[in-house]
């Protein structure tokens, strides 16, 4: 165990952790955040996604020591229920969810994509989400929501 400093959604936390611990457990258990989720633990589904240095990464296979000091953004860091990010707003407007378990990975992956390329085409959005799963298959609405958010973010 050792002292690990994590910067999450603009706040600094000092945690006593095995440095090999995947970031996901620090976020969901030590910090009790509800955004990042354990889906597979193998980096295959996207449920655990967080944004570090503008990149959407899989926190379930990222040791905490590798992101020490870096700014980490989780779904909670995008917006709030009262002041949602355009992506969060678009997902509500399109009613783009069923169980909602995958939303964390879908929205954060789309955020990292649109931040770099707000005018991403449908094909580019699909390409960007090629390794994200939604087992309820809300695909059509989600792609529509991302496109809608992109239009607002580009304005």
């Amino acid at each position: 165990m050792s002292a690990i400093t994590l910067k999450v959604n603009g706040r600094t936390h000092s945690l006593d952790l095995d440095p090999a611990t995947p970031l996901l457990y620090a976020l969901s258990d030590d910090l009790e955040l509800r955004g990042p989720k354990f889906g597979c633990g193998l980096g295959q589904c996207g449920a655990c996604t967080v944004i570090v240095k503008g990149q959407a990464i899989r926190s379930c296979i990222t040791p905490v020591r590798s992101v020490e000091g870096a700014e980490i953004t989780t779904l909670e860091g995008l917006g709030t229920i009262e002041k949602p990010h355009p992506l969060q707003k678009a997902f509500i407007e399109e009613q783009a969810a069923q169980c909602g378990f995958c939303l964390n990975g879908v929205i954060l992956t789309a955020k990292a994509l649109l931040d770099k390329n707000p005018k991403a085409s449908e094909a580019e959005i699909q390409q960007g989400l090629s390794a994200v799963l939604c087992r309820c298959f809300t695909n059509v609405r989600m792609l529509r929501a991302i496109k809608r958010a992109g239009q607002e973010m580009a304005r």
Partner: protein, 777 residues
């Protein structure tokens, strides 16, 4: 004609016991229903559970506070299918209050009425027709009107309600609020079966799209899934499953993990092995490092010839669904006899998040947070697992990752309970991806023989269907924690497999869609089916399964429909008939006819036989196909047109467009229904094109997203168009399993239309498509 009165839960219990609702309504007198209900209750424990509010009392369903806010209690839970939103609309509608004034609580054994499972597309019929939540709302509204009549000195028919206020129609200043009438007090009133439901034509809240209240917290990362339940002093557990099917514990070397940080306890009970640690990552390390010696597994039948293995089973449990006893004769007389065999693999629920539960077992009492679809059966079976009295358990539903049926929810709940009991502290368990996928209760494999006789004009004169399907375990019901892996490892038996010869069908039961849509469904001298073909025989052989099985979205219905609708397409092609027209020629149910016609119309269906004329035998070829179903024989109509492109060089199938027409009675929430239809069609497409459980001679080899393929978000989805036929004067039916039931058949039929190659085995992998292309005449 008056129908025997049955509560939807009674229907669900009967369905669970192998009866069909429609069959009972059509063929049974009340006496028979009463007898069968008692049988079903004795067998399945339907009926009031200890501690649950009585379903016959308004106060069990509805409470109105002094400020006029309404709390509704339901035994049907939100799994992601949108039913919570629709139920909130229902209560707001029946009580004439705004949507936002209603809070809905569901599936807590200490607080909500026992409605058995949330499963089988039964929530909409159970709570939106003439019983339960809908009837409680109507009874409460009429009671409020009677109270207001007394208070305001005006007859009930001179009163009107809006926004939780009852006014005298002729003098709006004379008014009283619900809060003033009943606020905080009980109704103390039985559900009145004569209380008048609002007719769909009067609806102002129901029947409209409503923003789902759970979406804002979901997208903001504030929503509490069961995975997010945190209790003071909570520890984390992890299970160690056997390395191969049938392996048992030889020995456990606790010293192998004694130095690991955070380890609290190694727990071994019979063949159940688990660890408890302070933190989840520590529990994972301990589970990985714990040295367990297992006996050899019992071995598995070969994957490559598994379908032959099913067909060759000597010990079978047979059921005859229909038998006109003249099929052999009619086939002998037929101008043409067509035979085909269809194959469906085991498939997974494959929940996005592996299953999770939290249990707090303290002495002889336990509180459990579980994503189970049946909190009451979880309560009674967890009590067996823990050796406690059921009345000392409380099971509270918390949403898990979408389950689509019996995923790991029940088994992980036992895991958490056993581990919590062992350490006397609250324990959270989330399964690993592999433990979820290698040991869940898979959707059933099927081998299905279809045989039909055609007359000289090409009309179907006889249809025979014979199927083999393996089963082991099921949802935990009363007394059967052994229906899932954890219960079995703890020494509880699964539902026994009892070989049995088929007996004469006594009631029409098409709950599994074993009976094709095009036959008459004749039982007891009456025709109960949707079709016209009078010579018919449907025989199902249940055989033992090496793997756990259980309901997966459209269980058996999807498999049977894939065979029936593919075969119907073969028959149409054989006589060079248009697939839509040929279906209509053999259907008699007007609502099924309507969804077929409307889907075809919306898809601009080109009337002609398949395959499509002019398509070349190489390169990319386009085609379209249709399939339809009356789900479970009585629970929702659906027809789906698929348009595909087949790359005949690579075998890749691309679905370009789905057009789906549904009739589910009165539409409670059109956007919610569309969401279910769209998701179902795409999930059906993923299952049709990619999904298959695999194994070697000892163990399952599909245990993550590399070895069990599914369609990700990153592909170009087909354009999906939904047509909703609103039926305000009919009963509400199920909706969530309709489009998925017809997707595979429609895609297969479209592949045939494009290429002339018939796909009879799911999934339609490129290799299988290429093999079918090579086998073209």
């Amino acid at each position: 004609m008056s129908k025997p009165v049955m509560t939807p839960d009674a229907r669900a219990a009967l369905r669970g016991a192998g009866f069909s609702r429609r069959g009972f309504l059509k063929t049974s007198g009340a006496l028979i229903v009463g007898f069968s209900l008692r049988t079903a209750q004795a067998q399945f424990g339907g009926g009031p559970s200890a501690g649950s509010p009585a379903a016959g009392q308004v106060d069990s369903w509805i409470a109105i506070a002094a400020d006029g806010s309404v709390t509704a209690y339901s035994g049907k839970e939100e799994l992601g299918q949108g039913i919570a939103t629709a139920q909130q609309q229902l209560v707001a509608e029946e009580l004439s209050v705004p949507f936002n004034r209603v809070t809905l609580l569901y599936c807590d054994t200490a607080m909500t009425p026992d409605q058995a499972y949330t499963a089988g597309s039964q929530s909409h019929p159970a709570n939106f027709n003439r019983g339960n939540l809908a009837q409680a709302g109507a009874t409460a509204r009429e009671a409020l009107f009677r109270m207001a009549s007394e208070r305001l000195g005006a007859p009930v028919d001179q009163l009107a309600a809006a926004d939780g206020v009852i006014r005298v129609k002729s003098d709006a200043s004379k008014k009283v609020t619900y809060g003033q009438l009943v606020g905080g007090k009980k109704f103390s009133l039985a559900l009145d079966s004569n209380a008048k439901r609002k007719h769909p034509r009067e609806w102002t809240v129901l029947g409209k799209p409503v923003t789902r209240p759970d979406l804002a917290p979901l997208v903001a990362g504030q929503f509490e899934f069961v995975h997010n339940v945190r209790l003071p002093g909570m520890l984390h557990g992890r299970v160690v499953r056997p390395p191969s099917v049938g392996a048992t514990v030889g020995s456990v070397d606790e010293s192998s993990v004694k130095d690991l940080p955070g380890l609290v306890k190694v727990v071994v009970k019979k063949n159940f092995v688990g660890v408890v640690a302070q933190k989840p990552w520590q529990a994972i390390q301990a589970a990985n490092k714990l040295k367990v010696t297992w006996t050899a597994g019992t071995g598995l039948p070969g994957h490559a010839d598994f379908y032959d293995h099913l067909r060759n089973q000597k010990q079978t449990r047979d059921a005859l669904m229909v038998d006109s006893k003249d099929v052999g004769q009619k086939l002998a007389e037929a101008a043409t006899v067509v035979k085909s065999t269809y194959y469906h693999p085991y498939q997974m629920h494959g929940s996005m998040g592996s299953s999770c539960a939290v249990a707090d077992v303290q002495g002889d009492k336990a509180t459990i947070w579980s994503p189970t679809q049946g909190v009451w059966y979880q309560k009674s079976t967890a009590a067996m697992v823990l050796g406690l009295k059921p009345e000392n358990l409380r099971v509270i539903f918390r949403r898990g990752s979408g389950c689509y049926g019996l995923n790991g929810a029940d088994t992980v709940t036992y895991d958490a309970a056993v581990l919590s009991q062992a350490v006397g502290k609250p324990v959270r368990v989330q399964l690993s991806r592999k433990d979820e996928m290698a040991w869940e209760n898979y959707g059933n494999a099927f081998v299905m023989d279809e045989r039909a006789g055609l007359d000289a004009k090409g009309n179907i004169i006889a249809w025979e269907h014979e199927a083999w399907t393996p089963a082991l375990g099921n949802r935990p019901g009363p007394g059967t924690p052994g229906n899932v892996i954890t219960g079995s490892l703890l020494g509880f038996p699964a539902d026994p497999f009892t070989p049995r010869a088929a007996t004469e069908p006594r009631a029409f039961n098409n709950g599994s869609n074993g009976v094709p849509s095009y036959v008459a469904g004749g039982v007891g001298g009456q025709s109960h089916g949707t079709g016209t073909v009078k010579s018919e025989r449907v025989l199902v052989h249940n055989v033992p399964s090496p793997f756990w099985t259980g309901p997966l979205r459209s269980p058996a219905r999807l498999q049977n429909t894939f065979a029936h609708e593919g075969f119907m397409d073969e028959l149409a092609a054989r006589v060079k008939a248009d697939p839509v027209a040929y279906r209509l020629n053999h259907l008699k149910d007007p609502r099924l006819i309507d969804v077929v016609k409307e889907a075809a119309k919306a898809a601009n269906w080109e009337t002609r036989p398949s395959p499509r004329p002019g398509n070349r035998p190489t390169g990319i070829a386009a085609g379209r196909g249709i399939a339809c179903v009356l789900y479970e024989g009585d629970n929702g109509y659906s027809a789906l047109v698929a348009e595909v492109e087949v790359n005949q060089d690579t075998g890749k199938v691309t679905v370009k467009r789905f057009v789906v027409c549904n009739d589910v009675g009165p539409v409670s929430n059109p956007d919610g229904l569309r969401n279910q239809i769209e998701g179902g069609a795409l999930q059906g497409m993923s299952r049709a094109l990619l999904e298959e459980v695999t194994w070697d001679d000892q163990k399952v080899t599909s245990f993550d997203w590399r070895t069990y393929r599914t369609l990700p978000l990153g592909f170009e989805p087909p354009k999906i168009e939904t047509v909703l036929l609103d039926r305000p004067d009919e009963e509400a039916t199920g909706a969530g399993e309709t489009s998925i039931t017809v997707a595979a058949a429609a895609i297969g039929n479209a592949i045939f239309d494009a290429t002339g190659a018939r796909l009879r085995q799911i999934p339609f992998t490129p290799d299988r498509v290429k093999a079918a292309l090579a086998a073209r005449a």
